[in-house]
């Protein structure tokens, strides 16, 4: 009975357990629990396990600070709002350029040959390193920050859209030709549905990169934003606030990934593996 109910949520239990162990270990480091515990055995050497709050905030302190910033002073909301705005606009631009461009480049063989080296180069470029150039071209205002996010997000979206079309089973293209489908119909009924899983996988990768874009873009002279907040808190040794900022981004990333996963399950009812995947 007990064993059965354990097995039913084994995945959740083990995941939560590992997380709890991690948090307790962390809390212990920040509060000196482990140092006190091992003092009799190790002597003063145990003090390396006691980390001062300026270097490491404890999870409980972070939680308390997060509560303060979100619900008491509410000071994080303007930061969060602006960062979210940058992210959404950046994503919309990256998707509306990257998806059509990738699909079209994948569809036409000659265009694909032309674009492939550029894609490979773009993929190998650390986009963050382009930041000084972006500042040079566009300054440090909102457009520049959005541009850096677009630059980061567009890469996996482009590459995946391109690959999606290149890997379509030729038998479906033959089928469409046999039924005299027009190019537009072929695109809509074969290419697009076959590409959707790739597109969503690309979006999922892009989300993580977009988060990097937020932080990196805001380091250069913005006044508001989660990235700014982290940066400012860091340079004034407010470690707890740094962690609250990081936590905010982590949670946002998780939530967005989950949203994409739900969309995947929605649109891929025809795919046996994902509908069975819990």
């Amino acid at each position: 009975m007990l064993r059965e109910s354990y097995l039913a949520c084994e995945r959740g239990i083990l995941g939560a357990l590992a997380m709890a162990v991690f948090l307790v270990a962390w809390e212990g480091l920040a509060r000196g629990w482990w140092a006190d515990l091992l003092q009799p055995a190790l002597g003063t050497a145990a003090n390396v396990l006691r980390i001062r709050p300026i270097f490491l905030a404890s999870p409980s302190a972070i939680a308390e600070m997060a509560f303060q910033m979100y619900f008491v002073t509410g000071e994080i909301w303007p930061h969060l709002g602006l960062s979210a705005f940058e992210f959404v606009v950046g994503f919309l631009i990256a998707a509306s350029i990257g998806i059509p461009l990738g699909l079209v480049a994948g569809r036409y063989r000659l265009l694909s040959y032309a674009v492939e080296p550029l894609l490979a180069a773009l993929n190998a470029t650390p986009q963050v390193a382009l930041l000084p150039l972006v500042v040079l071209w566009m300054g440090t205002g909102l457009p520049a920050r959005i541009f850096i996010i677009v630059l980061l997000m567009i890469v996996p979206i482009l590459i995946n859209s391109h690959a999606a079309v290149r890997t379509i089973d030729p038998k479906w293209l033959r089928l469409a030709r046999s039924f005299s489908a027009s190019e537009w119909r072929l695109f809509r009924t074969i290419v697009l549905p076959a590409a959707v899983p790739f597109l969503l996988a690309g979006v999922r990768l892009a989300i993580g990169r977009g988060m990097i874009g937020i932080v990196v873009g805001e380091i250069y002279g913005s006044a508001v934003g989660v990235g700014v907040m982290i940066n400012q808190a860091g340079s004034t040794f407010q470690t707890t606030r740094v962690f609250v900022g990081i936590l905010t981004i982590v949670v946002a990333g998780l939530v967005l990934s989950e949203v994409v996963r739900r969309i995947e399950r929605r649109v891929e009812v025809w795919r046996p593996s994902t509908s069975a995947d819990s």
Binding site: K171, A176, S178, F179, S180, P193, V269, W270, R271, P272
Partner: protein, 263 residues
Amino acid sequence: MTIKLEAHRIGLEYGDPESDGRLVALNDVSLSIHENEFVSIVGPSGCGKTTFLSIVDGLIRATAGQILLGGTPVSEPGPDRAVVFQDSSLLPWRTVLGNVVFGLECIGVRPSEARERAAHYIEMVGLRGFENRYSYQLSGGMQQRVNLARALVMDPQILLMDEPFAALDAQTRELMQEELLNIWQASGKTVLFITHQIDEAIFLSDRVIVFSARPGRVKESVDIELDRPRSLKLKRDPRFHAYEDRIWSLIQEEEKPRAKAAG
């Protein structure tokens, strides 16, 4: 009887990157199929029978000769021909209904009319009630029924079937053969059927055309004079076995020199 399909001295050659020469896939293939006739092509593997079907469909252009359908030359795919493809050619992101209306959508039939026509053929192939299933929810036999309905709904002048039962297990295959005959009789279509199974060809056809090994040519055309309607019992009839022996030895004549060359 009027001639529905005529292939006149069809040839297909293409450059062979391996030998740096020309590869002749089909050579001087001439055959004709009458209205309402069921004709199968069998032949050793690699003899170009599927390629020939693609030429009739218009997916591949012959380098010599001409295909005439109802007297008009064929150069590209059109709604006057419909193919039942080999296994699992259903669009997995479409339901049964969505797959069956696919061809109608392509030629611009209104959705409501397309659905109506599809419903008729879905019923004909015995899949009523499965309209909203996806292909992964169907057995192999059911998938090929959808495949058949998708071609029939186009109401083509000729139905081109490319080894449609090759991937099915033996029992399902036999049942599908019997059912195909029933559907064929009800629809009165002209059928060109490609298979590598001799018994399947004899059981279904009015005429079995044996292709030679590459380059594919018409080696012989065998009229199957067995009464219709046919049932699976026919496969145990001595006359059936006589046809099997005859066609088998025709194919063996083609396979033997190759086996020697390979051995």
